[in-house]
Symmetry: D3
Subunit: 340 residues, 6 copies
């Protein structure tokens, strides 16, 4: 049971029931989530001692976000309270050729305006084994970018393994700004997760010929980019999930990993999608768990892919599966047969 | 922004939630819709000035029908109030090999017993650009058939383009009666929408060898019938959507059009169905919008097919998509990827 | 209209809405069902005079179970009241590679502790045409095993046709115990329903090479086992449904039957699953109805397969379809087209 | 356990959830009910062999109405199938000074157009102990008025006790027509239930000074009218519930009875209302049960008042209480304490 | 049918179902509302030509707010699009001694940052009869205060009657700032609505001895303050609703008005509360309608009080009642009896 | 922030939505609760370090119970896993004169069959300040009674303050057995909570003339019994809540306390009930918090009464209020006014 720190934003998610469009809905399903919080929940579900670090407003909506994490045994002792508001995102779940639609209302969130003094990073990282963050946090505000680097410095002072999920968000910042900020942060990173688009937009690596819309994948292009990334940033691992978007209802799902020597492509799953939000986060959570548990690079990747395939069948941001359930899928039973 | 008039019946739709059968449901989802009303909503969503003409009872259920249209900015100023009741249809959404089940309870509806004196057609058509009706309206009652012809005469007095969706409904009238009434009305029509079955049952054209149940389509048969139709009625365009019913959950969807010279078959979509009711209406709405916007015959058809493919992913009768969303699909992105 | 007796357990089923996992659900959908009760409902829906025999507690939850059966016109006059509790099962509906999850809480149910003196079997079987039970009933307790044999003896005293659905449940008993009890009960059975796994675990017949997880089926293996079964127990018919579990969302579904002379494999359906619980029971119900109605072995099997394919599209344990709906599917229309 | 026949209309009831107005509701709660059907359910719940006689359409909505009755063990064997439609009523539940709002859509219902030849009254009344009808049935159509008299004649041929609930419905007929039809039918009636307004509008008895809107009651006026009624029609009992409408949320509720000799006023309950529809029917059901069970006039009335007070706390048309629950309230415990 | 202009903020309202607290709710009921928008809906429901002027973001949530208004026939043609976000408020409905809880998340809303150049006030007020605003609008931001005065100047240039609802919101501004801004705006106002607390906090009038928490009212204090207000600002009418807060479930509700000569106190209603949000707005809407319809001061006040009493029984911000329904209550029938 | 230990059963609660009876409900609302768990949640909400000790099955339903506690920050580290099942109770919420109906299905629960060896009581009570249990735990089984005494001994070894809520449950044991077991356990108790009925049934004290059904209270009788109790068991405090059951919808609520010298009766609240289950537990939770926080006996009692009055307005077993909210009510504002 490792102590794992994740830091970032947790948002109120408001989604329309069924496949309703926003304009026809008179209720929203409520859950809470965000890239790093989702990773924390995954790690807690796999038995680790997961901490989520953020700042949420000192009002009932902030209380709700914390309760949602505590329910899954995520340690919230380092969450700061205060600031203006909890970020919100609105979600319309797509189907077939109609994509899911996300409307962000996250500006002015407490975490976007948080100060390093809100957190005692030395205490937070004391005894920790791993620190995970994503490219979303430095994107939400200049203050959050500074906060992220402070956390990274503290983590490195304590020699903690650091992973990042690049997660380019074009609605939050430009590729230029992303590269300026993120390239600097890569010095602290050991494990880098991100697909070709992220690699290009966030770190400036030239993409191969993969056309992310067409649903075709070019593994060769990935290997090429991964080699460049390791060369430049000396990552221990570079990893990417590989999504083939046949439609909003059906996706192909696999992943690849590179450790500077070997490039490995996982088994591929064809997924009938229930909720794809948080799919990438569940992949990161599975990968970190696999590596923390001492699995080989290949086995950790297969665990991560299976875990995140399962996430696509579960409503909400969080991946509510146990280690045993993931391992059963890795072991080969994707038949969906009922046990009784 | 064109002024478009549609006239027909709007009904209360009562559908079981999820895939429940009627007998197991203790609540019904409520919406309002009908062939021509659905077209009006589509046109309003694309930015046109859409009017829906009907008669609804002077009670709260009639108020609800009007409010449902107003919500989507359909102009209801010409809706007459009075009569006995709003027609109802009950809907059980099918899945896989179980077809959706529609139970009509529409007899004695206010519009079925409306009188031409309920409407001031000269005012209604003043400044209008287009009039659309379907073969359902003359089918609901003899009075409604007379009313339809009165409207058509008024439209033609003002030189307004007229479109019809033949829409044969065997539960409302026989093929013989349909041919007797509808053949006469075709003199007013410029754009005729209808599949092979409609062409045969409503207008008496001999079908080709298409077996609508088998899910196979014979484009050659369509072209043959379209040529006969243009020859006999001098339509500007003859159009049909082409549905391949693999199951209640999966359909193929495309369309063809003929302008007396050229026969064009659109791109085909494979649809995972959420709600197929109103699919044909959304096709008509897309086609009318495309033609009103000055698109070429081919582009208008592609717009209509994409629009109606999207409809199949949206619950309710109305096609709640914007012009931009339809055009994005026409432009080629059917991958269902989330934008963020 | 035949008088058909079924006997067994009816349980309260508590299922999470949509695809929620247990831990995220704050409401459960409620229905009632169980192997033999589900068969009774099917037979009542096809117009037979179906009786369900069980014991339920004398409290409001017991009342609910009876009301659920009465709603579908199942005769409940022979249901005993008393005992401790109604068995419960919790259900999480799976999707894609995530299997449905069933948690049983059925120990100490009233029927598990019922006594033969709770039932007047001579009255129950008076004038009856058919008796159906499953391998679940003798598995739930030793008392229930005794009760089952008492019922079988009474049925045989009146020369009633008896069918069994072997239904091995590894959570209820071991294969060894199943064989010990069930082999003895086979002397009363005319029609035996069960797949290869059941045949092996319940009756000890060596399986062929079918790997039930892989989704591949070997008809030859089935024929071989069926021949052994008829030889040993002199069944009139041996029957099995054949499920190919591609995933929790998509299954192939067919069946085979053997009457000592001829082996027949039905048409196969590819099913998009809404709710697979009760699929096997609906198959048994369809088969019994087909045979009672005097259909040929082949026609009865096709009726059973079509009936149970439809069940997979209906939420809840019960197969809420009419004979006419099943026959329409047998007749070939699986297109899911709306009739209107 | 007496055999009790009730005859009348059963309708689909569509009500808005919570306290929503029609215009803001996108789902309707579904149940089935009607004056005489509600009485049948009450009697079945008290252990009697209750039959409901009506005609419902031969479609799934008609099936639903029958299933709703069967669930509560009402015998539906004499229900005719056919005709055009099931009557519907829409319900908005009021609160405080906003009254509940009922919109009827019941014209052209199957029972309104049923023919005496649809029913074998001699078989229906064979062995019956009681026949109950209401003033609603003859009001729904001239054919239904004839049908009612045919049933009454058949009941009297077999010397069956007959009760009526006068139930004036001003939306169905005028007071003049009601008096013309109903005065004639009173010759068949033994037990007459109806308040002052009914007595005046349906039978022409001059009201006392009771102002039904003010919520004040004048028992003296009731006694006076009851004496006139017994004198004219020789009723065995005349009975009325007494409602004090403080608001849509709070009512006072009691009743009075007269047997030609003694006038008795029951205990009064102050009710916090959940659903007042069917309150009068539950009173009639309680009274009939009390008299059938051989209670004294006073005890039967107290049973009826307590039964119907409880109905006001239960959603839907049916009074889902047992005899034991009613008797506990009659016995004096209205404290609402939980037993555990 | 008068043209009435209202201007202000419309917010997304997210409320917990039933009486759930925020922390236990996994869905929120969705509606849209705000002080002035609520008044616009009331006026539209009473048959007036109501315009709502605001600015909402150019995203689907903004579309939803507009659709919510259009549904009730409010003219949205002058609504500007753009800016950052739609304001949100979260609502937990209280009961008994637990007060409803409102959490505002309205900072940075589009209307708070709107510019006078977003609106063509001359066009907006062309032909208008009445302009209504509330003290909330100038409170939300300095820009909104400027915008409000621009609108008032334009209204006065066209000699339009102006009403204000003072509506002090201590979470939005201090009493000092409110007095500084609002005192200036009073020069444009003809009809001033506000209770004692508003009069003190917004305009600086010394309160009488009314203790708003105790639920006791001192009419004498009101009259005294009203006289001061008319003296200072020359209002045509000063009006206040009078709420006695017995608990979150039960309130007393009346109102008083003063025209410089006569002080009138209305009838009082005791309300069982369903949803009290928007109660004050529905009072303003009723008063404006009454005055526009030419009622006497007393009759207009009684109409306003009855209208707003009804609002308390309707979920959501909007008062969904017709003029006929309000007048029925004014006429004296508060008995809640069903009409049928 | 004190460390508080509570030990007992947590159950799955299944309640019908709205005011539905069991037989009409096709979904159950799900929550988790139980006497001592409810106290733990209260104490956690007031800022204490609350531990709940129990045993739950090692299945997903057991996981849910733990997650429900974790959500409210109750420490679950000492919960044992294993055994057969989680106890269940079914709840129908009453209204007016219809009482809430509880159906228990709690036999064979894991905690009922737990062994002292499942718990390390020395670790559990290390550093603890308070231990609370109820009379339900020893009542559920003989093993649980032994377990309770083991825990009490361990608590006393560490000199921890012990409180009990007598909570007589006649469905679990007889008064005789209760007295035999509980009288012995009183030697460990410092604070005894229980009403007159509990005092008589559990401890054998002769009741005064209070008739718990009538809703009348006799404080004198309480004082008399309290004096006897302190004399016999040397309790530091004896306490009782006082419920006046006017109906299932309206209760009076107050409490009294005695410390051997002074008898104090609190303020009384009239409550409009949303959910009364857990009312007594919230009273115990409030009292313990008050005493732990060093309040005077009188102030602690007022805090407890206000806290539990609020509980009656909140759905579910848990009292989801903060210390600040309780203190605001103690401070006198029961007006239910919205703050904004």
């Amino acid at each position: 049971m490792a102590k794992v720190i994740t830091m970032g934003e947790i948002m109120l998610r408001l989604s329309t029931p069924g496949y309703q469009r926003f304009i026809q809905s008179d209720s929203f399903d409520v859950c809470y989530g965000g890239g790093e919080a989702n990773v924390a929940v995954s790690l807690s579900n796999y038995g680790h001692n997961a901490y989520f670090v953020t700042k949420v407003p000192n009002n009932p909506i902030g209380d709700c976000a914390i309760a949602a994490l505590r329910k899954y045994n995520v340690n919230c002792n380092y969450i700061a309270r205060g600031g203006e508001r909890l970020g919100i995102y609105f979600l319309e779940t797509g189907a077939s050729m109609r994509a899911s639609n996300v409307v962000y209302d996250r500006a002015h969130a407490s975490i976007a305006e948080a100060d390093p003094s809100d957190f005692d990073f030395d205490a937070i990282f004391e005894g920790a084994d791993w620190f995970h963050f994503t490219g979303i946090t430095p994107a939400i505000s200049d203050k959050a970018a500074i906060l992220t680097e402070e956390a990274l410095k503290a983590a490195k002072r304590k020699n903690i393994t650091v992973s990042v999920d690049l997660n380019f968000r074009k609605k939050l910042w430009s590729s230029e700004k992303a590269q300026r900020i993120m390239t600097n942060l890569m010095q602290y990173v050991d494990v880098c997760i991100g697909n070709e688009e992220d690699a290009e937009k966030v770190l400036g690596f030239k993409p191969g010929k993969t056309d992310v819309t067409s649903g075709e994948l070019e593994l060769a292009g990935y290997q090429d980019i991964f080699e460049q990334m390791v060369k430049k940033f000396n990552f221990k691992y570079v990893v990417s999930s590989l999504r083939e978007s046949f439609s909003a209802s059906d996706n192909g799902w696999s992943a690849c990993i590179y450790d500077g020597k070997k490039f490995y492509h996982s088994k591929k799953y064809n997924i009938r999608i229930v909720d794809r939000v948080g799919g990438g986060d569940s992949f990161a959570g599975g990968l970190i768990a696999g590596l923390l548990d001492g699995k080989s690079m290949e086995d950790a990747l297969e665990f991560a892919v299976a875990a995140s395939a399962l996430k696509h069948t579960i409503p909400g941001d969080f991946n509510l599966v146990s280690k045993a359930e993931v391992e059963a899928l890795v072991g080969g039973d994707a038949s969906g047969r009922v046990q009784r």
